[in-house]
Symmetry: C2
Subunit: 238 residues, 2 copies
């Protein structure tokens, strides 16, 4: 996403228009809530085609700076909602990306009927059998994250036969069971006795938690809770 650049690294084309419009918003030339000129007018002003202006304004709208509506026109967003985006990599790559060595241990693996609560959350048929897995991820031989997961084998064909000691479930699913959508939630929880034992920390320690559920169309693939060892930080730029 570098974009065309001029002699001194200054963007050209639609990116130049985007930057100029953004500069005017920042300079309060077009204050929050105010309408900005129509695409056609801007196109003439910039000496560009309307499609080029459209490209620039669309980028600003996607970034939250503009509100665009047919007929109503384009306005500077009242509450410049900023979005933070996080990549969700395979845990192994996340660990390796921090310069550490990753390993994992499959602590438990069993097939059992889904509990009533699980069946409801995942819209599973009554009495469905799920694969329950517990994995400990290590970074440089120290506990990194404790992963508790259930998988619906119907939506992840082959998972029963996979050697999940060689490749972590996490990675197997990423490669073999692409999902269409899902939900993710971040929170802070106190370590229970079991988590404390797995992660080698004191009971009650503050742990960063990620809960994630993924679907392939109407079928649930997996539901997982990740508890990270104390001190874990998830960061990004905005």
């Amino acid at each position: 996403m570098s974009g065309r650049q001029g002699p001194r690294g200054r963007p050209q084309g639609w990116q130049a228009i985007r930057d100029d419009v953004l500069a005017r918003i920042r300079a309060r030339e077009w204050p929050p809530g105010a309408p900005i000129p129509h695409e056609a007018d801007l196109a003439e002003a910039y000496g560009a085609a309307r499609a080029t202006v459209n490209r620039a304004l669309r980028a600003l709208a996607e970034a939250g700076w503009l509100d665009r509506r047919r007929k109503a026109g384009t306005r500077v967003a009242l509450n410049p909602v900023r979005r933070a985006t996080f990549d969700i990599p395979v845990i192994r790559l996340e660990v390796e990306g921090r310069g550490m060595t990753h390993a994992h241990r499959l602590l438990a693996r069993c097939e059992r009927p889904a509990t009533a609560a699980e069946a409801e959350r995942l819209a599973l048929p009554a009495g469905a059998t799920v694969l329950a897995l517990e994995t400990l991820h290590l970074a440089d031989d120290r506990p990194w994250a404790w992963e508790c997961r259930i998988v619906w084998p119907k939506a992840a064909p082959g998972v029963r036969e996979a050697d999940l000691t060689a490749i972590s479930v996490n990675e197997w699913l990423v490669r073999n069971a692409p999902f269409s959508h899902g939900s993710i939630a971040f929170s802070a929880v106190a370590a229970g006795h079991e988590a404390a034992g797995r992660l080698g920390c004191a009971p009650g320690a503050a742990l960063f938690a990620i809960d994630r559920t993924t679907w392939a169309g109407p079928d649930p693939i997996t539901e997982v809770r990740l508890l990270f060892a104390p001190g874990h930080v998830l960061s990004s730029t905005i």
Copy 2:
């Protein structure tokens, strides 16, 4: 981002192409790492202009499904990195969006020289004076989040004169000091005695923390730590 829809809600145009390509990726017709046909070929196959195919493929590349490089062509991404995006709204709107009433209390406000650590993190000139603020956000009269912040008035002109009891610093800055970039980090921390007192929880309770620093070009605007009352969950869809 609704898109043109056909008779039964099926996307048309570039979105139809995007969905079809995505379906083929999911169906392993084009497995991870494999090249997909050139834009020109796809345009002919779909009976569309190349620009339309380009729009579809660009959307898939932005979403992480495809890797595109000039000359090398377009390939299915090897590690389908998924991104989670979170909106960062004004706290008041976040609270109200959950159906509660928001209020805030300015607990402390003082101007003081930046500490050495702050000056280094924020690249402030030696001896710079910052505005230090402490705010408690309430939802339905119960503690919601405790906000500790420093602001560099030079980058937020007018903040000294603002009545921060009427409008929270958070909101004032969003409206009056747009930032160009910044960093954000999520973590879990144990409540100290002060935080426990502010948030009305037990010392040592697991709290969800957000640390954020924002800049206007080369100038730092503000650095803030938000500690949320126990049980806070940040969720999103992917």
